[in-house]
């Protein structure tokens, strides 16, 4: 474990060593790229947890996720958009769960984009709930793949950041904000 001299989350560390040790601290590691993002949502912990735990509903705010099949309480199958109009798929398993507090997952080892992480829900008093996503993933096909993914806005960290904002919008306002003017524009934006 790297020596820590402050209280900042390891996902914000300048030290690769600290970030690596945060990756190792996850129950099952699926990659080497660490991403963390926190958002405060003006809703109760129970309400947010319940919505998120029903994985089949995640595509309502995860724009890149085409579909999540849920064959059992622990297992899920993900179909996700990839650059160039393609999709990638993987199976994921819940590795840890605390009702109303925490969901951790890991993809199967042979996933197209190996990934794992956890979503934590903490009470924030009158401000609602603090939702923290910590995600570790293996960028698709190395540096070049990552660059391509970024160009097509499919980079997992960019997506996760935006998905969390959409989750907040959906939970707080009942809808995902769009500046499209017509249905055709909205479809194009989502494609």
């Amino acid at each position: 474990m790297a020596r820590r001299n402050d209280d900042a989350p390891p996902t914000t560390s300048k030290s690769q060593e600290t970030r690596d040790s945060a990756v190792q601290a996850l129950p099952e590691t699926r990659g080497d790229t660490l991403f963390g993002r926190t958002v405060t949502i003006n809703r109760s912990r129970a309400e947010l947890y319940e919505y998120w735990r029903d994985f089949a509903r995640l595509p309502t705010f995860m724009e890149n996720v085409v579909r999540v099949d849920v064959p059992s309480r622990e297992l899920s199958h993900w179909v996700v958009k990839a650059p160039g109009g393609k999709t990638v798929e993987w199976d994921a398993r819940i590795t840890e769960e605390k009702d109303g507090e925490l969901i951790a997952w890991a993809s199967s080892g042979d996933a197209d984009v190996p990934n794992g992480g956890r979503i934590e829900f903490q009470d924030a008093g009158t401000r609602g709930t603090i939702v923290t996503a910590t995600i570790v993933y293996d960028p698709p096909a190395g540096v070049l793949g990552k660059l391509i993914a970024k160009m097509f806005q499919r980079e997992p960290a960019i997506q996760a950041r935006r998905d969390l904002r959409r989750f907040k919008q959906l939970m707080e306002t009942g809808e995902v904000a769009t500046s499209s003017r017509t249905r055709a524009q909205l479809e194009e934006e989502k494609a």
Binding site: R162, D163, R165, K168, E175, A177, T178, S179, R181, T182
Partner: protein, 399 residues
């Protein structure tokens, strides 16, 4: 429908585009009856606001009739409404505190990245004002899609004309918030830089809040005349030295509160990604924050600085020392329009605030490009252009 679209510097056109549709439950579609060109639209016209795209529909001061509603809207077809230029959800932490212009959710998720990069946290969505603030189509059109229509639009009571209430959408609340941010105490002398619409409404508001004296600063004679009409004393900075005049007019003390209603004009939108583009004109650029710099220097010790003026980025030669040493307080921000609308509508009904004086020109939507050019070229005579999509005749100047 017909709509005023942006195509580049000094290039706006009225195009035929697809009608807006209901996309989310809380949406409403408004048929525009009146929409104004704002001074800040000229920043877009002059091409100084980044993240504009060809074809973007402009306009953030508008009102009209409800013609379609989503299942979550509280509006009813046929109602006449004025729409705030800030798009706020009404349910986030900031909306709960009535900080509507800081709404977390009005700006679509993908658009928030750039605001995060530039400002640390993304700002709310605005109508017709670049993709930095959401990329929403504006109201200089026949129809507009209004998100969160259960929170923003205010229903206009019977007996009021469009011209009476249109400015509730932006400039009246903005002038009012500017005066409120000056924390005016009874007997205060308040100095206002800029006698455009916001400055003129700030003059009226400052008196309503108890200012004994308001000193208005500009260089357009017609605008200074309007300020004088509302009881302000004036300084024409082309004829007098502003700082010296203010000191002499306040017994050597300086104004108790200062309001900068000028802002970036056309040159100051110093966003990181356009800095290189404007580097050549950096001298001009830095000069353009002249008003806030002068306001800080003129303000009395322990006084208050209110800044409704729009600034975009990083400025140069900000008098931080004067600000600190004199112990000044600065309040600023985009206007939380929704917070002020009901009380200001009452003030209009009760005749406490005059709004229609401002309108110098009324014209059809088809003539909008001409309206932009007139407003841009002649800010002395043209104080406010109101576009009426229903109008068939060409430009009609107010009596």
């Amino acid at each position: 429908m017909r709509a005023l679209t942006w195509h580049g510097k000094h290039d706006v056109r009225v195009d035929t585009v697809d009608d807006p549709e209901i996309l989310n439950p809380r949406d409403a579609i408004i048929k525009i009856t009146s929409t104004a060109i704002c001074g800040s639209d000229l920043h877009l016209y002059d091409g100084f606001i980044p993240t504009m795209k060809a074809g973007d529909i402009l306009g953030h001061e508008f009102m009209g009739e409800v013609v379609e509603t989503g299942p979550g809207s509280t509006l009813v077809k046929g109602q006449r409404v004025v729409v705030p230029f800030t798009i706020a959800c009404g349910s986030c932490y900031h909306c709960g505190k009535h900080q509507y212009s800081a709404c977390d959710n009005g700006n679509p998720a993908d658009n928030q990245d750039i605001g995060m990069e530039l400002y640390g946290q993304p700002m709310s969505g605005l109508f017709g004002y670049s993709h930095l603030t959401g990329g929403y189509a504006g109201g200089q059109a026949e129809y507009v899609r209004v998100p969160f229509s259960d929170v923003g639009p205010i229903v206009v009571p019977e007996g009021l004309d469009d011209d009476d209430v249109l400015f509730l959408s932006d400039i009246l609340p903005t002038g009012w918030q500017a005066a409120e941010n000056a924390d005016i105490e009874p007997g205060d002398t308040v100095a206002v830089w800029g006698c455009g619409p916001v400055g003129l409404f700030a003059v009226q508001s400052a008196f309503l809040m108890g200012a004994a004296r308001v000193i208005a600063i500009d260089h357009f004679p017609r605008r200074l005349e309007l300020a004088r009409k509302f009881g302000a004393q004036t300084i024409n900075f082309e004829e007098s030295k502003t700082y010296e005049a203010l000191m002499e007019m306040t017994g050597g003390i300086g104004p108790d509160a200062v309001i900068d209603a000028v802002g970036l004009e056309a040159h100051g939108f110093f966003v990181d990604n356009v800095i290189d583009q404007v580097k050549a004109s950096l001298f001009l650029g830095t000069d353009r924050i002249h008003s806030i710099r002068q306001a800080i220097v003129a303000c009395r010790k322990g006084g208050r600085v209110s800044m409704p003026a729009v600034y975009g980025g990083i400025v140069d030669k900000f008098p931080l020392g004067a600000f600190m040493e004199k112990g000044l307080t600065l309040k600023t921000g985009q206007t939380s329009v929704q917070h002020y609308m009901p009380a200001l509508l009452n003030a209009i009904v009760e005749g406490k605030i005059d709004t229609t004086f401002l309108i110098s020109h009324r014209m059809s939507l088809e003539d909008a490009p001409k309206g932009y050019k007139m407003f841009h070229d002649n800010q002395n005579e043209v104080t406010k252009v109101v576009l009426k999509p229903g109008f068939t005749e060409t430009a009609v100047a107010a009596e």
